[in-house]
Structure formats: C-alpha cells, structure tokens
Symmetry: C2
Subunit: 218 residues, 2 copies
DNA sequence: GGGTACACGTGAATC
DNA sequence: TGATTCACGTGTACC
C-alpha cells in the first residue's frame, strides 16, 4: 500500500495534470501560440496540422506512460518510482528470471534423464550430517584404485530420496559391463552404511540397484 | 542482423544526432537562445541555470534511452523497435517467464514429492501400442468395484520407464494402509501383464513395488 | 503529404 | 535552494 500510494503520488497526479491541461491550460496555450504564430503567418492549415501533431504526441506520451505503468505492475521488486528505475528494475528482474530458468532447467534435465558423471561421489554432507568425510574419501579411493579404469561405471540414473527422518533410499541404474555388479557391491560396502534392504537386478544390458539405508544418529 | 540494423537505424542515428548537437549545433543553439533571451532580460544567472537544466535534462533522456536499450537487449522476442513496443514486449516476456516459472514449479513439486491422484489409470496407449483398451478398463473396474472404497490406494510416486524395445518398468510407491499390498497385487494381476520381475517392500508406513514387464509383441 | 516516432528545450513541481 | 523528474509543444526525419 505504501508503494501504491507513492506510485499514485508520482503518476496519477501527473496524469491528472496532463488531462487537466487537456481542458483548461490547453485552450490557453492554443490561443497564446496561435496569437504568436498568427502575428508572423496567419496560416490556418499549418495551425491545424500543428494541433494534430500536438494531440498525436500527447497520445503517444500517454501510451508510453501506460506501458511503463504496466511494466511496473509486472515487476515485483520495487525500489523507486523513477521511469529509469522502473526500467532498471525490470531489466534486473528479467535477468533474474532468466538465470533461475536456466538453473531449474539444468537441474531438471540432470535430475530426470541426464547422465551423471562417471565419477561416483556420494556427498551426503549437504543435508545429512552423518560424518561422511571419511566415507566419501573411501569411495573415491576404492573406486579410483580398486576398479579397473578400462570399464568405468556408467551411471545412467541416480536418485537419492530422504524418506522419513532416518531412511535414505539410493536408486542406481548403470550400464552392464565387466564386473559392474562387483564394483557396485564394492562401492556400497566401502560406504559402511547401515543398509536395511538392497536389491540388484540385471536385465537387457543394465543393472538396477536399490538400497535402503538407515542414517546414523547424529 | 536485420533487427540489429533496424535498431541502429532507429537509435544510433538519434543518439548520434544527440551527441552531435552536443558539439556543433549545441553552440549554435546556445548563441541563438542567448540572443533571444538577452533581448528580453539580460540575466546571466538565469541563463546559467537554464543551461544547467538543459544539460541535466539531456543526461536524463540519455540515461532513460540507455535503460530502454538495455531492456531491449534482455528481451528475446523482438517485434518492433518502438519505445512502446519495447516495453510491451518486455511486459509480455516477463508474464511469459512468470507463467513458465509457476508451471515448472508446480510440475516439480508434484513430480518430486507431491501426491498423485488416487485413481490409478495405467494408460499405456501413448507410446506402447500393446492393446491396452481392455486392460485399462479392467484396471478401473477391478479398482472401483473390488477394492474397499474406505481406504483407497494413495499413490505417492509412479514412474513408468521404457527400457529397450519390449521391457517396461513400473515403479510405484504408496502409503501403507489396510490391504494396500493385497490391492496392489490384485491390480497388477488384473492387468494380465507378462511380469519378468516384481519386488514389494514395506517400510516406515510405505509400500514400494517395482515390476518389470515384458511388452507383448504387436 | 499525411502519419508516425523521436529528441529537444522549457516551465513547473517535488524533495 | 539547488537538484531531479516530469509533461508539454515543437521541429525534424522517415515512410
């Protein structure tokens, strides 16, 4: 409401003055200017064209102000009521939306169907503080040293869901290659997680492994 | 490039004329206006203030035009080079981004953690033409008639993936209620699908069922 | 040549 | 009071 009132203060008064001059001051100006022009050249057609131009320009200004008003209406973050500030805020807002769109799109495409990187790094630090520093190291170590580098694990899909307070579900799909199953077991063993339930299935050149893990108490 | 050239045609020429007048025509105008004003009132202070106002206004216009130019640069869909059209396109683009953001957000929240509708309808028609008209009917029928309506199956997540040419993986997560497991079995039995592998697990008030189905040959 | 779009200088209003 | 912002009328360039 504060912004609204300030906006009305800035704009409606101006628009009101504008329409007001369309009635009162406008006639005065016309007579004054006609007198000035008539003293030099009493041309009616030119005066008519001039007034046409005046009203045309007035409409153009009003349209542009209305557009700017509408632009102001669709931009949420309000700072000042300047014309320049309005455009500036609109620009920043558009850039912000673009960045957010790009971020979300990449997140979706990577989360839903994109391939993950071949290096498997389970980083449970972000929201699950069961001391994973050592485990993370172990994973990388066992994967980098123990596994044969000739056939890395090609993770097609990896989903980590947090169900309830202490249950983590890791669902992993990878291409079936040499010792893929063994490697997966090694990796999950190296994690030393408290596994509630694990299921591995091989079919049509792919390996699906679903593991239910209980998080340690912090 | 066409738009770019047209834009330069509209703007750069104007800006060039503006800066040009700042050098050459500006001095001419100053002398002319100073002569006009000096004839009526030879006030140096007022003239100085007037020129201050002039350059100030000139900078303001330039800033506003630059902002409008920058706004134009961040809006992808170009129609016309009008000032009003620029603002209009910016408004439409912002509204479009807002709508898209709202759509994606709702899609994400519904896809990732939201509940699906209680009515289970396996519509395999869209990309898997193994005659499912009858099956679909059977599902709805068995679900609507056989199941006890007091505790409907609350599907939390349903994913249908097509792996290879003839394998369909149906992954289903629902809340664990009375006879949820039995109902799920009934539903999958009523489908009369060629099931390769099925796995049901119950944990923490939820039931997860993963079924590997081989599609019939068409 | 009517029509459109623009930059310009200017007076007024607000802070 | 000086700085800033605005609407206005006008001349000009382009179709």
């Amino acid at each position: 409401m504060d912004n609204c009132d300030e906006f009305k203060h800035y704009w409606d008064t101006n628009l009101f003055l504008q329409t007001e001059e369309l009635d009162s001051s406008w006639g005065i100006d016309e007579t004054a200017f006609s007198g000035y022009y008539d003293s030099s050249s009493p041309d009616g057609a030119q005066s008519c064209a001039a007034s046409k131009n005046i009203v045309s320009e007035r409409n153009r200004r009003k349209k542009l102000n209305d557009r700017l008003y509408a632009l102001r209406a669709v931009v949420p973050n309000i700072t000042k009521m300047d014309k320049a500030s309005i455009i500036k805020d609109a620009i920043e807002h558009i850039q912000q939306l673009h960045e957010q769109e790009r971020r979300i799109q990449s997140e979706i495409s990577e989360l839903e169907s994109g391939k993950l990187k071949s290096n498997i790094v389970f980083d449970f630090d972000q929201e699950t503080p069961f001391n994973s520093k050592s485990k993370k190291k172990k994973i990388e170590q066992s994967y980098d040293s123990g596994g044969s580098q000739s056939s890395p694990i090609d993770v097609l899909e990896l989903r980590v869901s947090y169900m309830g307070e202490r249950t983590v579900v890791v669902s992993l799909t990878c291409s079936k290659r040499t010792d893929t199953m063994v490697k997966l077991c090694e990796i999950f063993e190296s994690l030393k997680l408290k596994i509630i339930n694990a299921n591995i299935t091989a079919f049509s050149g792919r390996v699906l492994k679903t593991v239910f893990v209980e998080r340690r108490r912090s």
